[in-house]
């Protein structure tokens, strides 16, 4: 039995001539696997072991690094001055109550209201003016996708044939809308102005800078006006229609500054960067610090926020309507630090984590000290 099977093995097992029995020169070529470190699973390897000994210093280090960072962050955040004004006009007493109501009023004129407020502290350095909306779902899927980035990038064909995603804000009056889509259509259009009331009663308009509020790359690369028309945007956009809710076409967003007009209008660009959460703020204007550097940008005192409502043609309501979905409108004045706007979260988080690590380090040290030796002894006989 042995013989027959043995031979059979050669015939069905493998085909190369140098198999077991023949013993010819081919037999040297054995099937012996290569003796390489990889194939033998013997690659040199680093074998770290996390023990109390190695982790303890790490915990202390983390604690020692994080707590100061956290304190720094917390202090920085606390030093940021922030002032928030809600001008939604929900209350009867609110100055903007009238404008937010469905009054039958002369549609040719606009509605405006003044909200007085007082700053207790001076705002140093550049002050950033944000508008904030609540309960406004800029991150709704239908909303987020309702835009045409190639149109906004100045693509001629997309200008006249915007993406289907823009529906139902794609065409109006048989013309293509530019910029199309729900996002552009709902562009925030309250005009906000700030006045400083000098103690002597005179009223100074504060200079609000419109530019520098959008990402540089958005302004210069992602958003571009369509070419042609010799710089006259009205010609470029002549075959398009304005978004239905807008009062004026896109080429009149900032007629005074050709670099801030049309698709590269920074208000539009900022608005087009959809917010992450339903309650959000967007940068509106920048109040640059005084050149003399002596007086603060916004000295303490009385101010007036003047809100001018534009007319949304689709609505009867004159203002930017948020009350239909329980929204709120705010204006936020804030200084900025290296970490951005005021947010105590990071500071608290760092302090907490740092302390926890430090505490764990202490506990581990205690455990290690008390039980460590016994553990080692117990392990050795294994």
């Amino acid at each position: 039995m042995m013989a027959s099977s043995y031979n059979a093995k050669e015939e069905d097992g493998h085909h190369h001539p140098g198999s077991v029995g023949s013993g010819g020169p081919g037999g040297v070529k054995s099937k012996k696997p290569d003796n390489t470190a990889f194939k033998q699973q013997r690659l040199p390897a680093w074998q770290p072991i996390l023990t109390a000994g190695t982790v303890l210093p790490a915990f202390f280090m983390i604690g020692l690094i994080f707590i100061p960072i956290g304190i720094g962050l917390f202090v920085t955040s606390n030093n940021i001055k922030e002032f928030e004004i809600d001008y939604t006009g929900v209350d009867m007493s609110s100055p903007c109550f009238n404008c937010s109501q469905n009054y039958s009023w002369n549609s040719t004129s606009s509605c405006s209201c003044s909200v007085p407020f007082t700053l207790d502290q001076a705002f140093e350095s550049n002050v950033f003016m944000y508008y904030g909306l609540s309960n406004f779902y800029q991150n709704h899927r239908r909303y987020v996708k309702s835009r045409d980035d190639s149109q906004l990038n100045g693509d001629k064909s997309s200008l006249l044939n915007p993406s289907k995603e823009c529906e139902p804000y794609r065409t109006s009056d048989k013309k293509q809308i530019a910029p199309c889509g729900a996002i552009a259509n709902s562009l925030f259009n309250d005009t906000l102005e700030l006045f400083y009331i000098h103690p002597n009663g005179s009223r100074f308009a504060i200079n609000l800078v419109k530019t520098g509020i959008a990402w540089w790359t958005d302004k210069h690369v992602k958003f571009r006006n369509p070419a042609g028309g010799d710089g006259n945007l009205s010609i470029v956009f002549q075959d398009t229609s304005k978004p239905v809710n807008w009062r004026k076409p896109v080429y009149e967003l900032d007629p005074n500054d050709p670099d801030n007009n049309g698709f590269i209008n920074e208000d539009l660009i900022v608005w087009m960067r959809t917010a992450a959460l339903p309650t959000f703020r967007k940068l509106y204007r920048i109040i640059q610090k005084k050149k003399d550097n002596m007086t603060p940008t916004l000295p303490p005192g009385d101010y007036i926020l003047e809100v001018t409502y534009s007319i949304l043609t689709i609505n009867v309501t004159p203002d930017y309507p948020v009350r239909s979905f329980d929204g709120r409108k705010r204006v936020i004045l804030s200084t900025i630090s290296w970490m951005g706007g005021k947010n105590p979260f990071l500071g608290i988080a760092y302090i907490t984590v740092g302390s926890v690590c430090f505490f764990l380090g202490v506990v581990l040290l205690f455990i290690h000290h008390k039980y460590g030796n016994r553990n080692n002894n117990a392990d050795i006989p294994n």
């Binding site: 013989a3 027959s4 031979n7 054995s30 033998q40 013997r42 074998q47 239908r142 139902p168 239909s324």
Partner: protein, 998 residues
């Protein structure tokens, strides 16, 4: 059968089983025979014992499926929750369709319930990443590439057959780490099926051969000078005994081919060409005995014309005419020959098992020899006793006629012959006993011990008779001196006066009481080594009894019998099942496989009779032994030697299991914490299915960013290095019963995923309570939000794997750090260009802007740290695996394997080679296995004498007649090379270089 001869009346001859030529039979005494095939194709025993190959699925896959169900439930419930909440939310005035976000006309027209359904489906699509589809790809890749490591393993390379391990399926790699029951064949698996004459006892004096072997292997270098034979007994007795050995057998001599001998002499490496003598016998024991006698100076030269020729010590040729052979049969358990010397004396030589010889000889002779026989038996040798009897002429005449009559009897021939034999074989005088060793496979005992240490229960399933099997078990240390044997065999059943069935139940109950009820510590003692404290039990059952247990006469008892039997078996460290038919082997495997807890079974065997058992078990291992390729072809893994099983299970199996278990858990975990933030985001975006991450990130997460590190881990991880795994078999128990894929660890990973997902989302959520995160006051939008979360996610998930990696090769380093680098690079690249084919440039410069924000950096760092903190803490607090892992480092550079095991292996190897140099062709006809093995021959057998006849057209169609002529030649070559190798290894040179000489 009618026989027609020219001038004679047609004669009627009976045909019996002895006329059947079974597969692998070798032709002797004649040049050709004519035959008729009776059983072919599916009717052959082999085919009848064959079971269809079924799909084998590993336990890990079952776990994966269970986990998948959980995740599917999570997915569906998430989608349901979101859909429900969406409609609740929308029911509030002004939420569904605010003025700034009107629906299209089509959307407005859609039927409400259809809308709900599509919403549900969109949520499913949004969250579908929680089902780790890529895991299947990775698992398959891991299994496929992972199996190469078995193939590549040099330790599995056997220089004898020049082959390494073979992997037939890559699906079961991890199952090797889960084995609880090992079913092993005996002949050819535990033993080499290579008999060797160890010692004899003549007239009460012990003779042990010490000459040639002691020089070669140093195995028996012991006390006392080197003697050819220590003369203790009288010379006549001695010579009588040796003559008996030389005469009392059915061995055939096969001379070496002349041209071969010539060629051999040329290279001058061949020692003693006159001993180049091949013996063919139906039992390897007989060959061993004849060879043993040869060593003591009595050489059997062959049988010619009914004359047996032997050369005695004085180099004289003695001739004996062979009068009768009283064949061996398993009932008598002995065989005899009647020969006539030249001087006319008629002698009867008988050899057989002690139990069958002792009652037939004079009692006073027994005592002296019994001692030796019993000692030899406990050492695991096969013992035979030799007796003789001088027949007077009258006695012979009576016997002659009696035998003749019996042989010609048409009815009850068997019985008549038996009676005649029994009558003849009485009143003999005992001359001595022999001890033959069925040599164990290399390191068989060590391997078995290691497997037992690893908590596996070992069942030996063999077709052999009980005594042989038992002695093998003792030799393999499966049974030890303290082991209490519970026997359930035909013999024990018939001891009592009561009926078989009653006795069976009685015994079962008794054993059950002993092994199960009285020994509770065995059950709980999974962790402690079960054999060092409590009483250890071994269980022996034979095929006939097993049939009785499995199919009792009354069906009602079936389950009772079975459960009793199983419980007994489960509490025994070793179970020996002898006299098993191949299908019975499979039956046993099946029974254990389907028992409570469905333990993972492994079958190992080398022959065709093991195929069904190999197919039945969860993991089938074939040994590339001498019995052909049946087992190998049907196995899942094939290894050259039994000893390789240890590394295959303890090292490879363990590692594969740990790797794949970790892989599976990790995949579920990473997809959970990937999708959870996206789910949470729905609460903040009006349940609008707004994805949190960009589409590119969604797609790439599983494909590019997190796939390679885990693949590298799952291929290379060695949480404990191989040497330690091999040295500490108990480590295997740590992963027993699918320990890493049970619900507890799954829950742990899931909770970890949930924790981290919550961390990622809400950490960034709090940061975004003021989205003015840049130092120029500009704000971040929703894509920045998603990108920050995603960055934290990718880093955390990858670093989590880094924390788990215990074996950092350069591949791990490059995969882990490379993936992270690739993520950063990709994000820059993806956000750096206005892609013309994209409708929306969502990520344009988002990543770069994010990195320009200090706050984003800080939040990313703290979230990663916070997410990993519990993991680090657990790792520290968990009882350190100190000494085991610490020992690893020195072992790394150990390229040569384990030196100690090599040195112990060498003598054994050499012994094998030196032995084979005595013969040119050694063909073995397995008597024991034959009963069950046989696949009937189907073709007309025609082959010239001298050529080896290969099993003709069996169902495995392995050979053709043309090739048969070549075989002796091949064989000789092989032999020579083995010899060469043995010389080489003696002089510590590497073998392969010398093969050029041939």
């Amino acid at each position: 059968m009618h026989i027609y001869k020219p001038e004679q009346e047609p004669a009627v001859r009976s045909l019996g089983p002895e006329n059947l030529l079974l597969k692998g039979a070798t032709l002797k005494n004649t040049k050709k025979i004519y035959g008729v095939s009776v059983y072919t194709g599916m009717e052959t025993k082999m085919a009848l014992n064959y079971q269809g190959k079924s799909q084998k699925r590993s336990a890990v896959e079952k776990s994966i499926n269970a986990f998948l169900c959980v995740y599917l439930c999570i997915l569906i419930s998430k989608a349901v929750v979101c859909t429900t909440l969406k409609y609740v939310w929308q029911s509030k005035e002004g939420q569904d369709e605010p003025w700034y976000n009107q629906k299209t006309q089509k959307e407005k027209d859609t039927f409400m319930y259809l809308k709900m359904f599509t919403d549900f489906l969109s949520f499913m699509v949004l969250f579908n990443f929680i089902i780790p589809v890529s895991m299947y790809v990775t698992v398959e890749m891991q299994k496929f590439f992972g199996s190469f490591f078995i193939k590549w393993d040099n330790d599995f390379f056997d220089p004898e057959i020049k082959e390494g391990a073979l992997v037939n399926t890559s699906d079961l790699n991890e199952e090797l780490g889960q084995v609880e029951y090992v079913f092993t064949d005996k002949t050819g698996t535990l033993t080499q099926n290579n008999m060797e004459f160890i010692e004899c006892c003549i007239d009460g004096f012990q003779y042990r051969q010490r000459d040639v072997r002691s020089e070669l292997d140093g195995f028996t270098v012991t006390d006392g000078p080197v003697h050819k034979l220590q003369p203790k007994a009288g010379v006549e007795k001695e010579e009588l005994f040796l003559r008996a050995l030389c005469l009392c057998h059915t061995v055939q001599v096969k001379e070496a081919g002349s041209e071969e001998t010539l060629g051999d002499r040329l290279d001058g490496m061949l020692p003693k060409p006159e001993e180049e003598r091949g013996f063919i016998a139906s039992s390897p024991d007989e060959v061993a005995l004849v060879k043993g006698a040869m060593k003591y100076g009595f050489t059997f030269l062959g049988l010619e014309n009914k004359k047996m020729k032997i050369r005695n010590r004085q180099n004289d040729i003695e001739e004996y005419s062979l009068l009768h052979v009283l064949n061996f049969d398993p009932v008598r358990r002995r065989m005899s020959v009647i020969v006539q010397t030249r001087s006319g004396e008629t002698l009867l030589f008988c050899k057989g098992a002690d139990s069958s010889i002792f009652p037939r000889v004079r009692p006073e002779e027994v005592d002296r020899i019994r001692l030796h026989v019993e000692r030899n038996a406990t050492e695991g040798y096969r013992t035979l006793c030799v007796a003789y009897k001088q027949l007077t002429a009258e006695e012979y005449m009576v016997a002659e006629t009696g035998l003749q009559d019996a042989r010609l009897a048409l009815q009850d021939r068997e019985e008549k012959l038996m009676a005649m034999y029994n009558q003849l074989e009485t009143g003999m005088s005992l001359i001595g006993a022999t001890a033959v060793e069925d040599r164990l496979q290399e390191e068989a005992a060590e391997t078995m011990e290691a497997l037992q240490g690893a908590g596996m229960k070992i069942w030996v399933l063999t077709g052999d008779k009980m005594e042989t099997a038992k002695s093998t078990c003792y030799a393999c240390r499966l049974f030890q001196r303290g082991t209490e044997l519970l026997e359930l065999t035909v013999r024990t059943l018939e001891d009592g006066r009561s009926k078989r069935e009653e006795r069976l139940l009685e015994l079962l109950r008794d054993y059950h009481k002993r092994a199960v009820q009285d020994a509770p510590p065995v059950r709980t003692g999974v962790v402690t080594r079960s054999w060092c404290g409590s009483q250890e039990y071994g269980f022996i059952i034979d095929g006939a009894t097993l049939t009785l247990v499995m199919n009792p006469p009354r069906d009602a008892d079936a389950s009772l019998y079975r459960s009793l039997f199983l419980q007994i078996c489960q509490n025994c460290t070793t179970v020996l099942c002898c006299r098993m038919a191949p299908l019975q082997k499979a039956q046993i495997v099946k029974m254990v496989k389907n028992s409570k807890g469905s333990p993972i079974t492994l079958s190992i065997g080398d022959g065709a009779n093991d195929v069904s058992m190999i197919l039945e078990a969860h993991v089938g291992i074939g040994i590339k032994g001498k019995e052909g390729r049946q087992a190998v072809r049907n196995s899942d893994y094939a290894i050259p030697k039994l000893k390789h099983l240890k590394k295959l299970l303890l090292a490879h199996g363990h590692l594969y299991y740990v790797r794949i278990a970790h892989l599976v858990q990790y995949f579920f975990y990473k997809n959970l914490c990937f999708i959870l933030p996206q789910f949470l985001y729905q609460f903040f975006c009006g349940y609008s299915q707004q994805p949190l991450y960009d589409a590119a990130y969604l797609t790439m997460y599983n494909i590019c960013f997190t796939s390679l590190p885990i693949l590298a881990y799952s291929l290379l991880e060695q949480h404990i290095c191989i040497e330690i795994l091999l040295d500490n078999a108990t480590l295997y128990r740590e992963i027993a019963k699918n320990a890493m894929l049970r619900w507890r660890p799954f829950l742990y990973w899931t909770l970890l995923g949930i924790f981290q997902g919550l961390m990622f989302f809400f950490g960034v959520r709090f940061l975004f309570s003021n989205p003015a995160l840049q130092d120029n006051g500009q704000v971040f939008g929703n894509w920045s939000y998603g990108t920050i979360v995603f960055t934290v996610l990718v880093f955390t998930v990858t670093l989590k794997l880094a924390l788990d990696t215990r074996h950092w090769t350069w591949l791990n380093h490059s995969a882990i750090w490379g993936s992270l680098a690739f993520y950063v690079f990709f994000s820059f690249f993806w956000g750096g260009i206005i892609w013309p084919f994209l409708k929306q440039q969502r990520l344009y410069f988002v990543f770069a802007n994010m990195l320009s924000s200090v706050s984003a950096w800080l939040v990313i760092i703290i979230l990663i740290l916070l997410s990993l903190l519990p993991e680090i803490l657990l790792m520290v607090l968990r009882k350190p695996r100190g000494p085991l892992s610490r020992q690893k480092k020195p072992g790394q550079s150990n390229v040569g394997g384990i030196p100690s095991s090599q040195s112990s292996a060498r003598p054994l190897l050499m012994r094998t080679f030196s032995d084979e140099s005595n013969t040119v062709i050694l063909t073995v006809f397995l008597q024991d296995e034959l009963v069950f093995d046989g696949c009937c021959h189907t073709s007309l057998l025609q082959a010239s004498e001298g050529a080896l006849l290969t099993g003709a057209v069996g169902w495995d169609h392995q050979s053709s007649l043309t090739s048969a002529d070549l075989h002796p030649l091949r064989f000789n070559k092989t032999q020579q090379r083995f010899q060469l190798e043995s010389h080489d290894s003696k002089s510590h040179k590497t073998a392969p270089s010398r093969h050029f000489l041939l």
